[in-house]
């Protein structure tokens, strides 16, 4: 049963590390190579202030993020946008890491963020190769009341599953939600996706362009727990099989709009700030400007996130509907070197 589980874990994990999984030696856990290089990204969106401030702080004095045997690199990914305190200059950097963009030839006409994506891919990738950074944490803020949220792109990256499980336990009683975006149409090519194990850190609510002390400290603490996990993992600790409660992206819900594309209603006061709480069919969802209530008309309960995120008005999203799921994480440990 154990061996069977291991085989399945190895088969389906997308990012187990090339050729270094100890398939031939008996191993009760899925083995991953030692984590050698970690990056901490801030300023992927130039007006999300916690990550920008933390990364600038750590670039000046990196003691807090150093761990034995790991290279930790704090890095500002979108300096042009940070300079202007705006989300992006030409195009959203956190949607820019598509194969087309990464392979397009450099040139003067390229949008700022596409050029930046290529540079980041060279420095921390290349995406999909064995030379890529092992782990990248990308620090974000949201205007939504999501608290601390860890964002994963794969339900079969057991290293990441074990890491978020550890972080959630370490953060308790502070809650930390896990958002999984594996949706074929709604997933997107993130900055952190150049690494083997990408993790998004999203903390809110915080207005764009504002630095709140409590939000700053929450994010700082999550990064600390994450680095602690990596240090423990590198020291040879085995993390037993476990489960992770997650919210899987199911559907994007837009505002009602008129024929000119203008919104005709706002998130209802009873839904506003209720990220991660169940939204049942018939519950109030939007309130029109003249005071009418529009109910949620789905066929079952969903768990909304990114409720009323400022940056998503232009992406046609009022909130993302998720479904709760229990993810299984295989036992993991560092492969012998």
């Amino acid at each position: 049963m154990q061996t069977g589980l291991l085989y399945n874990a190895v088969q389906t994990s997308g990012h187990l590390g090339w050729g270094t999984v100890a398939m031939s030696s008996p191993c009760n856990a899925a083995c991953f190579p030692r984590v050698r290089r970690v990056a901490i990204f801030g300023g992927t969106h130039g007006n999300e202030m916690s990550g920008i401030t933390l990364v600038n702080m750590w670039m000046k004095n990196g003691a807090e993020v150093q761990r034995n045997g790991v290279l930790t690199k704090p890095f500002i990914t979108n300096p042009g946008a940070v300079e202007k305190c705006t989300r992006y200059i030409d195009t959203d950097l956190n949607r820019a890491f598509t194969p087309e963009n990464l392979s397009t030839p450099s040139g003067d006409g390229l949008p700022y963020e596409v050029q930046r994506a290529k540079e980041i891919n060279q420095l921390f990738g290349p995406k999909g190769s064995p030379d890529a950074y092992d782990v990248i944490f990308d620090l974000h803020n949201t205007t939504s009341n999501m608290g601390s949220t860890l964002i994963l792109e794969s339900s079969t990256d057991h290293f990441n599953l074990q890491m978020v499980h550890y972080i959630k336990k370490a953060a308790a009683p502070e809650s930390c939600a896990v958002l999984l975006n594996e949706h074929p149409q709604l997933r997107y090519a993130t900055t952190r996706s150049v690494s083997t194990h990408p993790v998004g850190l999203e903390v809110g609510p915080q207005p764009q362009g504002v630095l709140r002390s409590n939000i700053f400290e929450s994010m700082r603490m999550i990064v600390k727990h994450a680095l602690d996990f990596i240090e423990l993992f590198n020291s040879g600790v085995e993390f037993p099989t476990c489960t992770v409660e997650a919210f899987r992206v199911h559907e994007s819900v837009d505002y009602p709009r008129d024929t000119n594309g203008n919104i005709t209603a706002m998130v209802h006061p009873r839904l506003q700030d209720c990220d991660w709480e169940p939204l049942n069919p018939g519950d109030p969802m939007f309130q029109t400007f003249d005071g009418w209530s529009i109910p949620y008309a789905g066929d079952g309960p969903v768990y909304p996130a990114f409720i009323n995120e400022a940056a998503y008005y232009e992406k046609q999203q009022a909130f993302v509907a998720t479904r709760r799921e229990t993810l299984a994480a295989a036992a993991i440990r560092k492969a012998s070197e």
Binding site: Q208, V267, D290
Partner: protein, 314 residues
Amino acid sequence: MGLITLPVIRRMAVCGGTHGNELTGVYLVPELERQRREKGDTLWPVPVTTVLSNPRAVKECKRYVNKDLNRCFTSAILSSPVTDTTPYEVQRAQELNSMLGPKGTADATDIICDLHNTTANMGLTVISYSHTNWVIMHIYKYLQEKITKVPVRLILLNIPICDAYSLESVAKHGISLEVGPQPHGVVRADIFNVMKEGVNVVLDWIQHFNSGKVIEGAEVDVFMFEKSVDYPRDTETQNPLAVIHPQLQDQDFCLLQRGDPLFLTFSGETVGYDEEEPLHPFFINEAAYYEKGIAFHLARKKTLVIPNIQAKND
């Protein structure tokens, strides 16, 4: 308490989108226009001009395109010649001054209500220039009585009208309605509902006043702007070295006493309030003020006596 007679209110303007990313006004102005189309001109006690003040900034969902529109209404800027290099907002300010003013003349609109949002926890805050403008003082008193969902306060700026830089100073009786906290680029239904109620209460007051009945005076508490406080900054890079202290964050209009925490540096030290006189902070951690070098403003609380007033037709 004597009686002061004042001219009847004849015209009002409601302005939204003076800052293009303060969305309550951006959506309330078209909603008021829709109400007028549906219910006709008799809906309101006086003709109401509805204005989207900075349409280019609204389109881009930014505070401004070239220059903060709400700093362009000094008499000097309003009368400056327009050239090829004149910032967009200066030209727009002059257009708005023609439309709603001219500022300081008998033709100016009686009341302007300019709708704003702030990322600071300020409830509904009325902002105005003069502390002897009894129309404004009475409107504030009425708002305080009628609005119960959030605290209602008045901030007075002690600036002579010719130097007053904001849009509402174009009117004879101009007020800004500032509602927060709301992130820029977001429209919250609860904040929208408060602002909508606020505008309706102002219209309600105009109806009462214009009916000719005596509006009773009272004592009201107001906050007089005293000064601004910036973040501690690195002398070389000018980058802030601290964040608003968690005990001050969201505590707009509290009373700051000597020693109370103001800032938390990134190295973990607390910077305290070191003035003798207790004052009241507001606009604490407003996003738009980072570039203006303002962490918060300080005000002195004062009790003012406002007289009975009555409208007279002239």
